[in-house]
């Protein structure tokens, strides 16, 4: 550095500049793994881009894909309907079940690890495995569930043929699978609640039930919001379990938005339209996250 201007060491930089400099690696990384892919996705969504015809020049179609999806594609709306229904059933469902599990796991048993291990297992199981296992559970001919029903003197139930039952079993499995994630976040939250708050409340005259409603629940709200944000986003992206359990059947009644995107891009190789659908899903997730963040911020004020 032989320039005439005095050499500046890092210490001479203003705090703001230094801060920016230190954030730079994170910003670059974020650009690489978030901004670029999303930007690229948006770009592709504006073209008629088919990988099944790789030598054809993709034609610019502007917002045509979006307009088609929103106004003219009943399969898109069916998939959105199924996805929304799965979200509004399984997210609160998993919250309630997860809260119950977390409360059980937080009980002062002598040995807590069996409960906690049981909690961890569904979470550690890959989604597709869970889907395949339950597909066998609910299998018409060989399934455990129908076997039990028959032994109890009931008839066999068409779990995979009746669309309502198929939808119900999928939701059940998603709740089973995701409630352990909920429970783990809520358990961490439960453990941060000081024990003496309960003692104070008991002395103040609270019953165990009142302790739960007046202390546990309000104190868990931050953990619940975090759990809900994560769970809602993954619920919007539901793919593996219905894919493994029903493949979208019967008659497409359990096909989610993510499955439709997968089908469009991977099976049909229609990257242009698939990208537009993926952008729409991204916007929905973004919207859901924004709402939750607003709720948290509103609570802080």
């Amino acid at each position: 550095m032989s320039s005439k201007s005095p050499r500046r060491s890092i210490g001479d930089l203003s705090e703001g500049t230094l801060g920016l400099l230190m954030l730079l690696p994170a910003i670059l990384l974020l650009c690489l793994i978030v901004v670029y892919p999303v930007g690229r996705l948006m770009y592709i969504s504006l073209f008629d881009w088919r990988m099944s015809l790789p030598n054809a020049v993709p034609a610019f179609v502007g917002l045509e894909h979006y307009i088609y999806a929103l106004t003219d594609d009943p399969k898109f709306w069916d998939a959105v309907y199924n996805t929304v229904l799965i979200t509004i059933i399984t997210v609160p469902g998993a919250l309630v079940v997860g809260l119950g599990l977390a409360l059980v796991a937080n009980l002062p048993f002598k040995h807590r690890w069996p409960t906690r291990l049981a909690l961890l297992l569904p979470w550690a199981l890959p989604l597709v495995f869970a889907g395949l296992i339950f597909r066998w559970f609910f299998n018409y001919d060989y399934g455990l569930v129908n076997d039990i029903l028959q032994r109890l003197g009931f008839g066999k139930v068409l779990w995979g043929t009746d669309p309502n039952l198929a939808f119900f079993t999928i939701c059940l499995v998603i709740i089973w699978k995701s409630s352990s994630f909920m429970a783990m976040i809520l358990l961490a939250g439960l453990q941060t609640i000081p024990r003496n708050l309960y003692e104070a409340a008991k002395v103040d005259g609270a019953t165990s039930w009142q302790c739960f409603w007046k202390i546990t629940l309000p104190m868990l709200i931050p953990s619940m919001v975090v759990a809900l944000v994560f769970r809602t986003i993954t619920a919007i992206q539901t793919f593996d379990i219905p894919y493994a359990m029903t493949g979208g059947g019967p008659g497409g009644t359990t096909e989610t938005l993510a499955m439709y995107i997968h089908k469009t891009t991977i099976d049909f190789l229609d990257f242009g339209y698939g990208s537009a659908l993926a952008m729409l899903m991204f916007l929905v997730s973004l919207g859901a996250t924004t709402i939750y963040l607003r709720i948290i911020q509103g609570d802080k004020e």
Partner: protein
């Protein structure tokens, strides 16, 4: 006799080829060919063929990569490999419905340049006409036939004998036989007629077979899709009646996948099953409950109608991104030879692509029913050919699955199929 000579000639040429290549200095280098074979296409039976090829071609090693069990799962994997232009796979075994798409996408290497001077027509003359046609797209040889397939009606010889019944020729007969057997057996686990209704590739045939038999033709004049008609309604009605009115088909037919049919039949729970040829070999295997009690006939048709079945089968293609195309092409020609076809017929009950083999005593010893299968394979019909076949398939199978499950009326399904297919096939 002439055909046989040609076949023998090809086998001789295949044997001679390494000698020619062996003279080249490049042959000293070791080449590894990676062959993609679906899990349901018996990679275990394929392995000895690869070993034979390795023996005949020192310097070439063949590895088998086992893919998913279903045609769709394999397609998804190949799509990922091929759209990313990955050279990892040299040779792949693809479903008969795929060549058009592979050609349009430029995923398969045209094989015309690798025939060693023989002209394409001469090469293809040896194969069953339907399969010879299927491998040529836009006047290019995209693949070579591996084995043929079609849907047949499997039945339980013991049950038919017990009730003094003959193998059915019509659907009406099939249903009445099935009812008779079910009534007589009084076994709640016994299914009369099992077929595939899950949202899978094979379900397309579940619809197309009765549709064709009733005179339907998916793509008519001027590329117009014609499915919303009496044949379409009749096809759906037949399966719905089998399930609901006659109660010979299981109530959960909308969940039945190809291998579920095979398993149920193999476990002795089915009197009649609509299934591809691969079932035979497994039904006669040691772990089968129905060993020695299985018969196969061409699919029935409706009273007074022409028979029709769905053409199946698999082809060998060379990846356009392979780094060893000449060797890969040579392997493909070997795998499409009479030697290979006979091996597959005997060991996997794969229907041969060469007509002579249907009269070959070795083949007929293990598959006595092949003789009767030849006319079926010759007359079997193709599913619609399109570079956008995955979309075509999805439209048909989702709607058929919906009707079988009862979530859609046949009329709603036909209307949707016609409008959506029209947009894809135009």
């Amino acid at each position: 006799m002439l055909r046989r000579t040609v076949t023998t000639g090809l086998a001789a040429a295949a044997l001679a080829a390494p000698l020619v290549l062996g003279a080249l200095p490049a042959a000293a280098q070791q080449t590894t060919l990676r062959v993609f074979i679906g899990g349901q296409q018996r990679p275990d039976v394929m392995r000895p063929l690869m070993d034979l090829f390795q023996q005949q071609n020192p310097g070439v090693r063949v590895e088998i990569e086992v893919g998913g069990a279903t045609s769709e799962a394999q397609q998804q994997y190949l799509t990922t490999v091929l759209t990313s232009r990955d050279p990892a796979i040299d040779v792949m075994l693809i479903d008969v419905v795929r060549p058009a798409q592979f050609a349009a996408a430029g995923w398969a290497e045209p094989l015309d340049a690798y025939l060693g001077g023989t002209d394409r027509a001469t090469v293809l003359r040896r194969y069953l006409p339907g399969y010879a046609e299927a491998v040529v797209v836009d006047n290019k040889l995209m693949s070579l036939p591996a084995f043929a397939d079609a849907m047949f009606l499997y039945y339980r010889t013991d049950l038919l004998q017990k009730y003094g019944l003959q193998p059915p020729r019509t659907w009406e007969e099939t249903v009445s036989h099935a009812r008779r057997i079910m009534a007589g057996e009084n076994n709640p686990n016994l299914q009369g007629l099992n077929f595939q209704g899950a949202p899978i590739e094979g379900t397309n045939c579940t619809f197309l077979i009765p549709f064709w038999q009733l005179g339907g033709n998916l793509v008519g004049a001027n590329n117009r899709v014609t499915v919303n008609n009496d044949a379409g309604r009749g096809a759906f009605q037949f399966w719905l009646d089998a399930m609901r009115t006659h109660r010979v088909s299981p109530a959960n037919s909308a969940e039945v996948r190809t291998d579920d049919t095979r398993l149920q039949f193999q476990n002795g729970n089915v009197a009649f099953a609509v299934l591809w040829a691969y079932g035979w070999n497994l039904f006669q295997s040691e772990q089968s409950q129905v060993r020695g009690k299985v018969g196969v006939v061409p699919l029935p048709t409706f009273q007074g109608r022409q028979s029709a079945t769905c053409i199946g089968g698999w082809q060998w293609a060379v990846s356009a991104f392979s780094r060893n195309k000449p060797d890969a092409a040579k392997l493909v020609q070997f795998l499409a030879s009479g030697v290979a076809s006979k091996h597959l017929a005997i060991n996997a009950s794969n229907l041969p692509v060469l007509p002579d083999l249907y009269r070959d005593p070795d083949v007929l010893r293990t598959n006595p029913w092949f003789e009767a299968a030849l006319p079926v394979v010759i007359t079997a019909r193709s599913r619609p050919v399109s570079p956008r076949y995955p979309e075509v398939s999805e439209i048909i199978r989702t709607n058929v699955n919906g009707v079988i499950a009862g979530t859609k009326t046949p009329q709603a399904a036909l209307t949707e199929m016609e409008s959506r297919l029209q947009r894809v096939l135009r």
